[in-house]
């Protein structure tokens, strides 16, 4: 029972991480229908930016964190402006190929600057954050990832539900010609979706870095996990991304705990295929509102 609960807790916190990282991916897909194949590298960029600011520049942790958020947000705008915007109006496959190229470029740059070794953040999480629930031990990183995950999901929920910019973003995803006719700055919405994707990816990159150490190859590989997550949840559903993330996180830890650690990495993809066979638009994909 304790083992089960421990796995449950681990699975949930891993799941929130996946959810967070999938959020950014879904955001870009929803607003511009682009599958961002560079998503794993976005995680790595955020994790390394935080490393550079906290360990190398020796800034106070809170400041380093805030600067990383601001920096990745700005970088998202720059990347959209330099690489994506010139391709607006081109066929989607070209844009997707471009993101593949961007991923390779980012990875190369990170390897050039930071090398392929595993780096570590300075220890900064207070030990007091860890929880002891009966016999279950929840390490402080997991508690932190849980809290950050939930806080961000709620913040984004509010942003999309109530803020004007959030509503404009949803309107572009819903009916682009109508949004244009009302003067919504569609290119700005695309740019904003990249900037937000960079931020949430950075968040998950940092948390993963705290848990596993920071390594270019590992972080960009984990970025690929967004595929089972978003396909499970439905490519265009934010709620689906969160649920999909939690499900994949739980599946991984339970498979690893009860069956075998070597199956752990494969199981998400097996489940993915099974689900796609039954529900091709994902578990929580938007159901088309049809007019009769």
């Amino acid at each position: 029972m304790e083992f089960f609960l421990q796995l449950l807790v681990n699975g949930l916190s891993l799941g929130f991480l996946y959810a967070l990282s999938a959020l950014g991916f879904v955001m870009i897909f929803k607003s511009s229908s682009v599958l961002n194949l560079a998503h794993g590298e976005l995680l790595a960029i955020g994790a390394f930016m935080f490393l550079a600011l906290s360990a190398w520049a020796n800034l106070p942790i809170v400041l380093a964190f805030a600067l990383t958020l601001a920096g990745t947000f700005a970088l998202g705008f720059v990347v959209e402006r330099l690489f994506l915007r010139p391709l607006i109006g081109e066929s989607l496959i070209e844009v997707i190929m471009l993101t593949l190229g961007l991923g390779i470029m980012f990875k190369g740059l990170l390897l050039f600057i930071f090398g392929g070794d595993i780096h570590d953040y300075p220890k900064f999480l207070p030990e007091g954050l860890s929880l002891q629930l009966g016999a279950i031990q929840i390490p402080s990183v997991n508690v932190a990832s849980f809290i950050i995950g939930i806080v961000f999901v709620i913040l984004f929920g509010f942003f999309f539900k109530y803020s004007s910019q959030g509503i404009y973003m949803r309107s572009v995803a819903d009916n682009q010609p109508a949004a244009l006719s009302l003067g919504v700055h569609v290119r700005r919405v695309f740019a904003l979706s990249w900037a937000i994707a960079f931020i949430v990816a950075a968040m998950s990159g940092i948390i993963l870095g705290i848990i596993n150490g920071i390594n270019v190859h590992e972080l960009s590989a984990i970025g690929l996990k967004v595929f089972p997550v978003v396909i499970l949840g439905g490519l265009d559903s934010i709620g689906g991304a969160i649920l999909g993330g939690v499900i994949i996180g739980l599946l991984e830890t339970f498979t690893g705990g009860y069956i075998s650690t070597s199956l752990r990495e494969v199981i998400p993809y097996i489940v993915l295929i099974l689900i796609l066979m039954v529900r091709p638009y994902g578990l929580f994909g938007l159901v088309e509102i049809e007019r009769v």
Binding site: I167, R170, N175, L182, V184, H185
Partner: protein
């Protein structure tokens, strides 16, 4: 007087995808505060004319290749929709283009996109004042609204932008006659009370000419007839082909009026 002109279209040609010419030398003028209607059968180029004004040709790969469009004396042809909407020209697209997955109120809020600071509270009240039916539906997804509610929604959404010149593309499309009447009454009130200049594209010439000051008839990408609205209502050709009343005065069936099976060329 020049300064009373809100919009001036001078001899424009519009070409889609560099090869398909749709408008061939269209000219028209809209005076400030007036309602102008643009009539014509399917494929005449009415929507294309509106899109040439609002900048929405661009995303469809269309372009004004000749002539010019002036708004308040400033050339605006081939500007982007972002620029044109910020000058106060808002087009309500044909076929009720709502945001399906947004609620009615969220749909309305998108209308504030062009405005500084995105205020919406007061404007929502104004829209609900004109369209009380929307108030009851404000929290439901637009995708589940009826056709009449949607037409009100898209006009209300445009009002949120505080338009100076509102371009309406076939507001009567597919609505029951009683609803058409109601919507046209509200359009007239908006013109009177808000001082909004209006251009209404319609196939329902009867309704359109009732609220209009001036009318144009379009065929095959050209303006073939224009005059004061009353005069147009009395024109025998318009009577027969757009109002559905033959010289004898007998009313044809609603279906004939609506679908324009018969076509007549003026040129």
């Amino acid at each position: 007087m020049e300064d009373h002109i809100s919009l001036l279209i001078n001899n424009i040609s519009v070409v889609y995808s560099d090869v398909i010419q749709v408008l061939k030398g269209v000219s028209l003028a809209i005076k400030k505060g007036q309602v102008v209607s643009l009539l014509g059968s399917n494929g005449a180029g009415k929507s294309t004319t509106l899109k040439a004004i609002s900048g929405l040709l661009k995303p469809e790969n269309g372009k004004v290749t000749e002539g010019f469009i002036e708004y308040d004396g400033v050339p605006v042809q081939n500007s982007s929709p972002e620029e044109i909407t910020r000058k106060g020209i808002i087009q309500v697209l044909e076929g009720r283009q709502e945001f399906k997955y947004l609620t009615v109120e969220e749909n309305l809020r998108v209308g504030t996109a062009t405005r500084w600071g995105k205020p919406y509270q007061k404007d929502l009240e104004l829209v609900y004042h004109y369209f009380p039916a929307l108030l009851a539906r404000k929290r439901s997804k637009a995708g589940y609204c009826s056709g009449g509610e949607l037409q009100m929604l898209v006009i209300g959404r445009a009002l949120m932008a505080h338009p100076m010149l509102l371009l309406l593309d076939e507001p009567s499309l597919g609505l029951a006659p009683i609803l058409v009447k109601e919507i046209f009454q509200i359009i007239r009130r908006i013109n009177h009370e808000q001082g909004t200049t209006l251009m209404v594209v319609e196939q329902n010439a009867n309704m359109a000419l009732q609220i209009a000051n001036y009318g144009y008839v379009m065929e095959n990408g050209k303006i073939v007839l224009e005059s004061e609205a009353e005069e147009l209502r009395e024109n025998p050709d318009v009577k027969e082909f757009y109002l559905g009343t033959a010289a004898s005065g007998a009313l044809k069936s609603y279906k004939d009026v609506k679908s324009y099976k018969r076509r007549k060329r003026w040129l």
